[in-house]
Amino acid sequence: MILRWWLASSALLSSMTIVLVIGFLLHSSWPLLQQQGIAFIAETEWYPFEALYGMLPALLGTLWSVALALLIAIPCGVAAAILCAEILPPGLRGAVRFGMELMAGIPSVVYGLLGMWLLIPLLESQLDLLTGRTLLAAGLLLALMILPTIMVLSEDALRGVRRSQREAALSLGLGWDVSLWRVLLPQAWPGIRVAILLAMGRAMGETVAVMLVVGSIDRIPQPFYNLLQPAQTLTSRIGREMAEVSVGSLHWAALLFCGLMLAMVAISISLLAHRRVVTA
């Protein structure tokens, strides 16, 4: 009986962490919402000293960097998964997978170091830019970081496709590419979808690496699809400004609101991913 209570209270306390975090974020960013309504989300100017807290530049920056990362990492990662699961002999397959797992284990700050001292000078010299700290750099770096997630989980999904399905495709005389598009990928799609969602969450929440390469300038790129300009993401803003802000000020509340937005999107993503796993 004691055991049961002890386990139950631990479980309750652990699962309450998330409620506490969200409640706390909401409570702390409340002063800002009270004073400025909700309209500041769509404003473009972020000047904390003049009490302007437009969220649009950082939101757009996060959106662009994540979209770019996914655009690169999905085809590449899924292709690598197909290569591993369907084409390569077992020995090589193990080697590629090991490489991916190794890459997944590289800490994000090391990616930041690579981005700052390898990628940025490269971009500057190749594209003839004033500064290599751009959305493009952030997107490329994030693509590199989420590649292992997409590849490893997609490979698991492809391996999980039943043998009978492959045999049926073979016996129908389908070519390799047809059976890939019509049988394997649709069958593995629930798993690949989860892989993409998880990678998206990771890319959105990545802080240190992005902070080092994105440039941290609160401006909407001109024109808005120009990826070759410095920008800001929600996470890099938190990382840059949190240490300098005084507790309890409106600026502080605005940064917490950035955190709240990140948490809400992350929760929606994990709910989506989780629901699919249950139904699949």
Binding site: L3, R4, W6, L7, A8, S10, A11, S14, S15, T17, V21, F24, L25, P75, C76, A79, A80, I82, L83, I87, G99, M100, E101, L102, M103, G105, I106, P107, S108, V109, V110, L113, L114, M116, W117, L144, L147, P148, G175, D177, L180, G201, M204, G205, E206, T207, V208, I238, G239, M242, A243, V247, L255, L256, G259, L262, A263, A266, S270, H274
Partner: protein
Amino acid sequence: MSCGALIHRDRISKSVVLLLALPALILPAAALGYILWQAAPVLNWHFIFSSEEGVGFGVTEGVFAQLIGSLLLALMACAIATPFAVASALYYRLFATTRQQQLLSAMFNMLQGIPPVVFGLCGLIVLVNLFEWGVSLASGALVMAVVVLPLLMLNTLAALERIPQEYTEAGMALGLASGAIIWRLWMPRSWVNVLTGLLLAMARALSETAPIMFTATVFSGVVWPDSIFSPVTTLQTHIFYLAQEANDPQVINIAWGSAAVLILLVAIFGLLARLLQKWGRH
């Protein structure tokens, strides 16, 4: 379509897949190779196992203090998180109703999805400022514990779920108490997998930077923490500050060297987990 054309088409589509996958094959080796190549000038035993406060801007002669700081934080985080994670997993398997199980797994999945920087933010305000723990080992360890908690809990759960249902049913049919089921039936069969999860959590805690950036670490001035309420230096933040501030090539080499040491450290825990997992299967 003739057989030859079909084979030809197969070959083309396979080449397209190979071409698309090429970056995934090359980049891990390239990235790792580049880091090691850059780190080579500074990397030696003296660099890893010494720590002297050097002259000027954080140009320490070695990274031993940072190494110990990283390990200390990760160990404390896992020590805090493990009891809660294991207890939650046990509750899930032993007592929870279906509805509670759904709720618990949803909660932990959500917790895992939240960006670590958000926990760092909460830690900075609640632990550092409100509780007045200051920028310290204790604050950082608690924040990091929350970061690894879902990972530990889900891994422990997976380990428990690998135990055949018949074992548990037989135990219950014999009228064993819950405590006996845990200790006599589950523990012997699953401790290897639980330990594997713990090692993976250590690797994770060693590689996170954002949650401890504001809560636990300072750049220089501290070599060894005196108590759990004093700040530490860690490899992760050391790399971060050096990457950001340094102009001197010598200092950047130190950053690359620290990166190599950190990767090595994470890889050790990852490999240990792998070996343990293989050993557990036999």
